[in-house]
Amino acid sequence: MFKQARPFFLMVETPLHAGCGSDLGVVDLPIQREKHTGIPKVEASGLKGCIREAFEDYDVVPGNRLPEPLVQEFPGLREKGKLREAINLAFGPEDGDLHAGALGFTDARLLLFPVRSMRGVFGWVTCPAIISKFIRELKMAGLEPPLQVPPAGAIPRGCGLLVNNGHVILEEYTFALQEDAACTNLAAWLARKLFPASGYEYWREKMQKDLVVLADDDCRDFVNLATEVITRTRIDAQTGTVARGALFTEEYLPQESVLYALALAAPVFHSSKGIFAAGEERAVLTFWQKGLPEFLQLGGNATIGKGIVRLKVLEEG
């Protein structure tokens, strides 16, 4: 059983297609969604695999050096073969089922969903159901976030999406919304936690004022109807025209979406603890956090630039 958990955010920088096979539905290649809510998610197995790959790249990709903070924390990693061993202890061995990995992940769940807005270009949409679940999971991870769940129909103070007295137009729908203290607090907290201190001033300011808490059903409709659908086809090299029967549609989670997940750590399940001297869960989490790259490529269509996400571990306080 896991002893420690650390929440982290995934900011979607380019459209993300975490696919779930093909479908005879609205789109040929839909994205993964929660069964009971229809809210988009990213399966933990895909997330774990991507993070593991990022660590393995330190070993195999020439010129991809270990991050300095990681080596300072675990000087033993400089020795040959130690990184491989640490990866196997943390993520589980590549072959055989000798022992389980000490690191685990939850599915990445949607927290904020960007929707086109008549004013302010776009706003981040969320709802009480999503926020309360988010706060519950933070508490599960042992944190005490200074947050309350805003009521449905709330915007932060100084919202930049208003078209006239208290109305916001998202896609083609009008919503009557009210400024709310809990929402103002939530938007400010998220803006602080999601963006690094420098270089993201525009985004910080935008998030502080352009967050919209809609009713659960309205939010659910947006995450179902307002995802990005891209039509693709193939050109026949012989004729230079569209090949027959090659037309298909793909669904993407739009860029600027924000997801979150928990990294979970258990004590090392192996008699040799490698660099995790005492084999404690704390060391495993530190290894993960210090070695985590800032950017990761998740989901499908990497070669057309999709699925780049920025990772940010939630710092306490």
Binding site: V26, Y173, V229, T231
Partner: protein
């Protein structure tokens, strides 16, 4: 299990629609249009998509676009039966007059119906339209 129980009879109705589509001279077009419509709705919204179908449909059964007319005529009775649209109203006019919440409900309903129709059309109708 009776199809009536599946999604409140939606599957049953969709099956009948696809059967009707199969018997058209423009059956291939029917199949390709019903497969295309859900994506159109997702990209452009229901109102714009219905307006598009209404503009495209032709009354001559020998024309390809007759398939659009069949689709348009199949959609309304279902929405009337579901109590989402009035019987005497024009479909496009009725849909653009809906309030936000009902509009999204109707969108969901139409998407769900076309999911079934395109599944059945895929199974019942052979060949692909030349588009």
């Amino acid at each position: 299990m009776a199809l009536n129980g599946l999604e409140q009879g939606r599957a049953r109705y969709a099956y009948d629609c696809a059967r009707q589509g199969k018997d058209l001279p423009a059956s291939k077009e029917y199949k390709s249009y019903v497969k295309k419509i859900p994506a159109l709705i997702k990209m452009n919204g229901l109102g714009a998509t219905l307006a598009f179908i209404a503009a495209k449909k032709k009354d001559d059964p020998r024309k390809k676009e007759y398939a659009y007319k069949v689709i348009y005529d199949q959609l309304k009775p279902w929405l009337v039966e579901k109590g989402l649209v009035e019987r005497h109203q024009d479909l496009v006019a009725a849909v653009v007059a809906l309030d936000s919440l009902s509009y999204r409900m109707v969108t969901g309903e139409v998407l769900a119906l076309f999911k079934w129709i395109s599944r059945f059309a895929e199974g019942l109708i052979e060949g692909e339209a030349d588009e």
